[in-house]
Symmetry: C2
Subunit: 172 residues, 2 copies
């Protein structure tokens, strides 16, 4: 072990990035626990609620894609949301394999109380940065995502626009 009491050369960039990642992951977790203590809802639960709200109604698979989670993970999250009466599951009449997930009034009320900017305090901080800097950061993250091959990891359906999709008429 190189003990150097005089100077400590900075760690290599790649190690620093890995280090930052672990800190970010931890910060997200800590924030989620604060949300849980304050609103009795966690970060992932809030993300899922937001996705359902944006779509009006969604299914397990779609939510998993948008949230970058596996379906089994989403099932657990939805179970808890259902238990807290934030969502309703209704079987699709056309394709009975699908379960359409809706928000309850209670969930709508909650989402008004917990503004999106609260999901992560980070959003506020980011928005206060000059546009150029935001872009630099966003590009850096996207490059890392690309370098990790995280794009091909199961979900590229995120684009919210989805101009046309005639192959499968949405139920609503």
């Amino acid at each position: 072990m190189s003990n150097n009491p005089t100077i400590a050369e900075p760690l290599p960039n790649d190690i620093q990035i890995l280090n930052s990642m672990r800190q970010i992951i931890r910060a997200i977790d800590v924030h989620s626990r604060k949300l849980k203590a304050q609103y009795n809802i966690t970060g992932p639960q809030l993300i899922c609620l937001g996705i359902i709200q944006a779509s009006g109604s969604s299914t397990v698979t779609k939510i998993a894609h948008e949230a970058h989670l596996s379906t089994s993970t989403v099932v657990g999250i939805l179970d808890r949301l259902e238990h807290e009466a934030y969502i309703l599951r209704e079987r699709d009449r056309v394709d009975r394999r699908n379960w359409n997930v809706h928000l309850t009034d209670q969930a709508d009320h909650l989402l008004k109380m917990v503004p999106p900017s609260l999901h992560y305090g980070l959003l506020n901080a980011l928005q206060s940065l000059p546009e150029g800097e935001q872009e630099v950061i966003a590009n850096a993250f996207k490059r890392v995502v690309s370098l990790m091959g995280a794009e091909n990891l199961g979900t590229a359906l995120l684009q919210k626009i989805t101009p046309v999709d005639k192959s499968k008429p949405p139920s609503e």
Copy 2:
């Protein structure tokens, strides 16, 4: 609230960054599971082994600080490592509250078989980037860590000296 239904305009930078984060978190998890399948060891376990190796011997609290994890998390990881005979726990004779954790020969052997660059395939990719680009990415991540307040989240022992700026915007 500006609704612009004309073009599929890219998502705001902050949302994109959050999105990237979720993808990165997932990629790290997926990679850990591949390691588990191939070497019967997970990413967090490898991180802890590396920390112990770098120090020759460490304690639960120290490992938790360096790995940006809570002590209770590290205890669980060490339990599994001990069960696999990768570490030994020995009570400190001077301060019997501490448990010194050592690597076994088996762990040394493992760490040779699993080179550090395999921890995350990311490392290889990063190292192939030009130095300047690495730095841009590292700085972007560090800024986000700072914006999230993740530095003050339980472990500031890691940074050695790093004569960076002391101008820390007082957010509290």
